[in-house]
Subunit: 309 residues, 2 copies
């Protein structure tokens, strides 16, 4: 089934204790699509400046990214640079230059308007709403957001949530959005405002899927070396949505599997700078990591419900 | 099979955003035994002062605690008081009065010396070693420790580790012990120094079981209301060890189940002050929570290893 992502396409300069990269492929839409395209083709809508390395994008196109929705505008591409602390938990933004992304008004190309699965990357909720006016009848809409919009565009964000099936955010964001510091209660607050599912990403501690009456938890895959955490959340979203789009199954059990595929993609993302790890792996590697995830949490119990007094 | 715990027996005064309790039952050995005794009788070795509420201890004795190893010494009982911050993550110790615990020299009563499962609560590693001289041939020895001993009694602690099967610590402790900030590498460092298994407790994020070539992760059970985190780690240890002692199975798969029983006990502990929650529940409640834990992490995948190219 068809999968559409709308979001940022950036050039990232990142410094970690283990090295640095300059002007590498980045942005929510690119991480999402680089990960997701291992499972299912991804239609990308975004904007770059004339300085963007188009040969790099073309390389990704050969891997299943449909870039007909990427417009090239006069001006500089979106650039972000940051530095991670020794534990890779703390991140300092050194510079953000929005460039052409500042005037991004997503236009969904006609061939993408029938997309059945839609992911609205972290942009102004008014633009996210505008994307939903352009797509015809998606089966599943998911979105991300951030503190900047929670604080500055709350009304539009709440209006958006009414039309969204899955909200993917981190724990700080779901707390801020709901006004409840308790993550599970915060997630249930969201369920009362539109989405049927909330995915709460908790970095090195994993991610939770919260729906009415049921919670699923997937720990982060244990890695000996985390190289660069940039893009882990968007890669998670890419794996999650691409698995759903690839299978077409919206049952609660299948969303659980999608969480595990998301987690696997997040764990690959952090093993290299930028989207580089996704160039090295294939679907079989993803499946192997999904099986390893299963061994990470699996246990057998004999106790049957009716055997308990 | 027989299960022995050696550790502190205290009177805790705790303040949380939700209430306060004064001089309630506490200490590592009591939390361990209150939890563990739901699954298997527990032999307790510790010391109290003459001011300890012995009627409360007698009440626990009726629930499966064998208190013949609890000596009553002249002087004041061990008292601890602390206050938790709004998020229940940060804890401030207001007062620690060791009292008779300062001179605690564990003497294992003759009937306890054949204990097959031994848990050495967080005391001076020299005393933990001394306990091991008194027990005859335990099938499994587990121990806890803390930063104070890691810094001040490192040599004795390393000598102890050579004789221990399972080390249970939190993430800060395993990092400090190994000198490696990376938790998985830190745990594997421990595996090279004696224990076959390392349990790393990560508070609200759950716990990991690390053994050679295999990691198991159990998330903390999602609770709507955490009332008082005091004793969660010791209750975890009590559930973990009592499940192993009750089943007598030391396979890797059974240690995984023991982790889930530990996690269930930890989640009960925090629902009330002190050990109060364990007075309200029975083995069936524990099993129900273990099943709920399974639903929290369970997912099905079709991908078979040999189906992957």
């Amino acid at each position: 089934m068809s999968l559409l992502v709308v979001g940022s396409i950036a050039l990232d300069s990142v410094e970690t204790p283990f090295g640095r990269t300059e002007e590498a492929l980045g942005g929510s839409a690119l991480f999402f699509a680089a990960a997701g395209s291992l499972l299912c083709p991804v239609q990308v809508v975004g904007v770059v400046g004339r300085d963007y390395p188009m040969d790099e994008l073309q390389r990704l196109a050969r891997r299943g990214l449909d870039l007909r929705g990427v417009s090239v505008a006069d001006g500089e591409s979106f650039r972000w640079s940051g530095r991670y602390g020794f534990d890779l938990q703390t991140r300092e933004t050194l510079e953000t230059r929005l460039g052409v992304f500042a005037n991004f008004r997503p236009v969904i190309p006609e061939p993408f308007r029938d997309a059945e699965f839609v992911f609205l990357g972290n942009i102004d909720p008014e633009l996210q709403l505008d994307v939903l006016k352009q797509v015809r009848s998606p089966r599943l809409v998911a979105c991300d957001t951030m503190n900047f919009w929670i604080q500055g565009k709350r009304t539009a964000l709440l209006k958006l949530l009414e039309r969204v099936d899955v909200l993917l955010v981190n724990d700080a964001e779901v707390r801020e959005l709901s006004g409840d510091w308790h993550v599970y209660r915060a997630a249930r607050w969201v369920l009362k405002h539109g989405p049927r599912f909330v995915v709460v990403k908790r970095g090195e501690h994993g991610a939770m899927l919260v729906e009415e009456g049921r919670i699923f938890y997937v720990p982060a895959f244990p890695l000996d070396d985390v190289f660069d955490p940039t893009g882990a959340g968007d890669s998670f979203a890419g794996g999650f949505m691409a698995y759903l789009a690839g299978t077409g199954d919206l049952s609660s059990d299948n969303l659980r599997r999608a969480m595990v595929y998301g987690s696997a993609m997040g764990s690959f993302a952090v093993e290299r700078f930028s989207t580089a790890r996704f160039d090295e792996i294939a679907a079989a590697d993803v499946q192997a990591r999904v099986r390893a995830h299963r061994d990470l949490v699996h246990f057998e119990i004999d106790v049957e419900p009716d055997a308990v007094g």
